[in-house]
């Protein structure tokens, strides 16, 4: 018996490699058609509705879901391949990414059948965008301090309060949010929150964009004023959202997006140093590639665990902890090495522009979707320390 976690080596099956070729060919066509520039992660408009529909038409959204909901019943490993290829190409996935990764699976688990039949096929077609309403002005990592109220009304609930840091709320068609339906009890401070499906773009919801230090406006403040949500939009147990949150985390935290967000600077550095790097550049690149490779193998292994029906919450937390710290440091390590790149390197300007953006992006990576501190708390619990 050991406390150590095993990440068994997964070999991606042949069908994954076939799929990878299809995804690469598709992305190459999109790039050639001018849909997006893979060298420009900091483009102004990250929302690409037409691209989203074309990805849906390929059958690459909701790929692991049941066919009756528009899914393909394919494996988590196949989904993994699609996700990592999109991420590495800097494809504009904003419109569908959250719905595909976690909102869809939550609906499959907790929504009534008629809602699933209505919404899931539209996610699979790339038509709709989801946001996640967790944080509030005085409730971030401490999720169970949420105060936005859902008060029982005839046939549903009235919502009053404010969600904040809500990514994509300005373009989202739906939000999955937690609201307070009861006060916490003495025995259980996590009691009293309920998960809801919220239809956006309606009166009673005001979305206020918030500028980020990158210059982008991706997250928002969302204010609810006597906003009505019908009873059939309750997801799961009333007052029992705390029981439902954990399994979602393994999906949310272990994917390739948790270490590839600044990957583009590494590619560009390799281009800048050319085929015969000096010892310093070679060592720096070698270490970064070894670290990247190791994280990816861990992340693929977690996808294998999900495929096997496990709930690898602690393993996923380790991937996100190590992965986000790495992708946060990456632009700084690349900057160290780029200082020695020849002035004549043809992509020097591209690299500098990318570094500028990646360095501004870096601070958020260890905060969004579960801070480093929260993750280490989960890992410590897994070790039996809490």
């Amino acid at each position: 018996m050991t406390a150590a976690l095993r990440f068994d080596p997964i070999r991606l099956p042949e069908k994954c490699e076939q799929l990878r070729k299809e995804v690469r060919a598709f992305l190459a066509e999109e790039i050639a058609a001018g849909t997006f520039d893979p060298h420009k992660p900091n483009r102004e408009d990250t929302d690409a509705p037409e691209f989203s529909r074309r990805v849906g038409a390929k059958g690459w959204l909701g790929m692991t879901w049941p066919k009756k909901y528009g899914g393909q019943e394919r494996s988590f490993l196949e989904r993994y391949v699609v996700t990592e290829e999109m991420r590495v190409a800097n494809a504009p996935t904003r419109r569908f990414f959250v719905a595909d990764r976690q909102s869809g699976p939550v609906l499959i688990k907790y929504a009534p059948e008629h809602i699933k039949m209505d919404i899931l096929p539209r996610i699979c077609r790339g038509e709709i965008c989801f946001a996640i309403g967790m944080s509030e002005p005085n409730s971030g990592s401490d999720l169970f301090a949420a105060k936005t109220r859902a008060t029982k009304a005839d046939g549903g609930y009235l919502i009053n309060g404010t969600k904040i840091w809500t990514s994509s709320a300005h373009i989202a068609d739906y939000m999955i949010a937690i609201f307070r339906t009861s006060q916490p009890t003495k025995e259980n401070r996590r009691h009293g929150l309920t998960q809801f499906l919220v239809k956006m773009k309606q009166p009673g919801i005001q979305v206020n964009p918030i500028g980020q230090i990158t210059g982008q406006y991706e997250f928002n403040e969302v204010v609810f004023t006597d906003f009505f949500v019908p009873d059939d939009h309750v997801l799961g147990e009333v007052d029992g959202a705390w029981k439902q949150a954990t399994s979602e985390l393994a999906y949310e935290r272990s994917g390739p997006e948790r270490f590839l967000e600044t990957y583009y600077v590494l590619t560009e550095l390799v281009r800048a140093v050319g085929p015969n790097p000096d010892t310093r550049s070679a060592e720096g690149i070698g270490r970064l590639v070894a670290q990247l490779h190791t994280m990816r193998r861990m992340s693929v292994s977690v996808a294998g665990m999900l495929q096997a029906g496990k709930e690898p919450v602690v393993e996923a937390s380790i991937v996100k902890d190590i992965g986000t710290v790495w992708e946060q440091q990456l632009p700084h390590r690349v900057r160290d090495l780029a200082a020695f790149v020849e002035e004549t390197a043809t992509n020097r300007e591209t690299l500098e522009r990318q570094l500028d953006f990646a360095i501004k992006t870096a601070p958020k990576l260890t905060i969004q979707g579960g801070t480093t501190e929260v993750l280490r708390g989960i890992i410590a619990r897994g070790l039996g320390l809490r």
């Binding site: 018996m1 050991t2 406390a3 150590a4 976690l5 095993r6 990440f7 068994d8 080596p9 070999r11 991606l12 990878r20 391949v81 990592e84 290829e85 590495v88 590494l266 590619t267 560009e268 390799v270 281009r271 140093v273 050319g274 085929p275 015969n276 790097p277 010892t279 550049s281 070679a282 060592e283 720096g284 690149i285 070698g286 270490r287 590639v289 070894a290 670290q291 990247l292 490779h293 190791t294 994280m295 990816r296 193998r297 861990m298 292994s301 393993e315 380790i318 902890d321 190590i322 501190e373 993750l375 280490r376 708390g377 890992i379 410590a380 897994g382 070790l383 039996g384 320390l385 809490r386």
Partner: protein, 354 residues
């Protein structure tokens, strides 16, 4: 969690538990544990795991042998088990039968080279050869005018300057001066010193990962026992977060090492994909040995810095193993060159190859 469902590992773990318990070994100032341990391992056929039956070995799979090395790391085993396994494996590449007894391999560093002259005599100096003093035979990779050869050499024919690595295990300099080998054959086509170093590096990676698993276990256990400021130190958030980081380093080392082992066990040749796996394992495991070992010591405080405590058996060996068969900086430079040479747009296809 079951460590393994494989019989080789089960056998080895039983022997290690009976005859290489780290606390017992650590208390034994005269090293009387060594002979019975080696005898038990030999009787079970473990040192020659990677040697086929017809060459005198027990013919275990590469995968089983790698799992055995991981288990040996969990016990910080300080007899030339890994070295004899690697020697047997090297000899088997040229269909040379393995003799009984302890062996080691040379060279053990990518910088050293043994040469073979026209009449088959071997010359050269190999530094940092693990357990050379304990070895009865050397398995040698030598280079001559017509390419690489593999040779079995009587250890008494070499000049040995003894030394100790930071883990207090023998790491010796071996000089061969026109030594006639017992047997010598051509290495298979494509087999070179890099292949041998990658294989040795993956063996060391698995041992380091095993040592980190044990460092995590004993650190967690200690934190749940030690009381300071009127509570168990495991209840302090700063300590919890350090242990969470150690768990991450341990998991990363194990993932990198087992992935590389799986790649080699299923590879037809040492292509770029296998090179990435093996070099990455050595680099990442060496980094984890440094970062993880430092946390294990921090959690233990002064007691972990004593010779009486078993922590150093793991922490110092893990650090020492970094140096064998190419250090992490060596492999980082080589991997960086390979990546640069393939070009920027070929980096991702390489990383995503498995």
């Amino acid at each position: 969690m079951a460590e393994s469902d494989n019989i080789v590992v089960e056998t080895a773990e039983k022997i290690f538990a009976d005859l290489a318990d780290p606390q017992t070994v650590n208390n034994d100032k005269k090293d009387t544990w060594q002979a019975p341990l080696w005898q038990a391992l030999s009787e079970a056929g473990l040192p020659l795991s990677w040697v086929p039956d017809d060459l005198g070995g027990s013919g275990a799979s590469l995968a089983d042998g790698f799992a055995l090395l991981n288990a040996a790391g969990r016990f910080a085993v300080a007899v030339p088990l890994a070295e004899t396994m690697l020697a047997g494996w090297l000899l088997a590449q040229a269909k040379i039968a393995s003799p009984e007894g302890e062996m080691t391999v040379l060279p053990a560093s990518p910088k050293d080279r043994i040469t073979r002259d026209a009449d088959g005599a071997l010359s050269g100096r190999a530094r940092g050869v693990p357990f050379a003093k304990a070895a009865k035979h050397f398995a040698v990779l030598a280079h001559g005018k017509d390419g690489a050869s593999i040779a079995l050499v009587d250890a008494s024919k070499g000049r040995i300057e003894t030394g100790l690595n930071v883990g207090y295990d023998h790491s010796d300099t071996v000089t061969l001066d026109k030594v006639q080998p017992l047997t010598i054959r051509s290495a298979p086509s494509g087999f070179d010193q890099t292949t041998m170093m990658l294989m040795g590096g993956v063996a060391r990676s698995l041992q380091i990962a095993g040592a980190l698993e044990s460092m995590l276990d004993i650190s967690v256990r200690y934190s749940n026992e030690r009381v300071a400021f009127e509570k168990k130190i495991s209840k302090f958030q700063a300590v919890q977060h350090n242990l969470a980081r150690l768990a991450g380093e341990s998991a990363a080392a194990l993932a990198a090492a087992t992935s590389a082992a799986d790649a080699i066990a299923n590879a037809k040749s040492f292509n770029d994909e296998v090179y990435l796996e093996a070099a990455s394992a050595k680099i990442r495991c060496a980094e984890a040995a440094e970062k993880g070992g430092a946390i294990a010591h921090q959690v233990h405080g002064a007691i972990g810095f004593t010779l009486e405590h078993i922590l150093h058996r793991y922490s110092l060996r893990a650090l020492a193993w970094r140096d064998d068969f190419g250090s992490e900086s060596h492999w980082a430079v080589e991997l960086g060159k390979l990546v640069a040479n393939r070009g920027a747009d070929e980096l991702w296809p390489l990383v995503a190859s498995r």
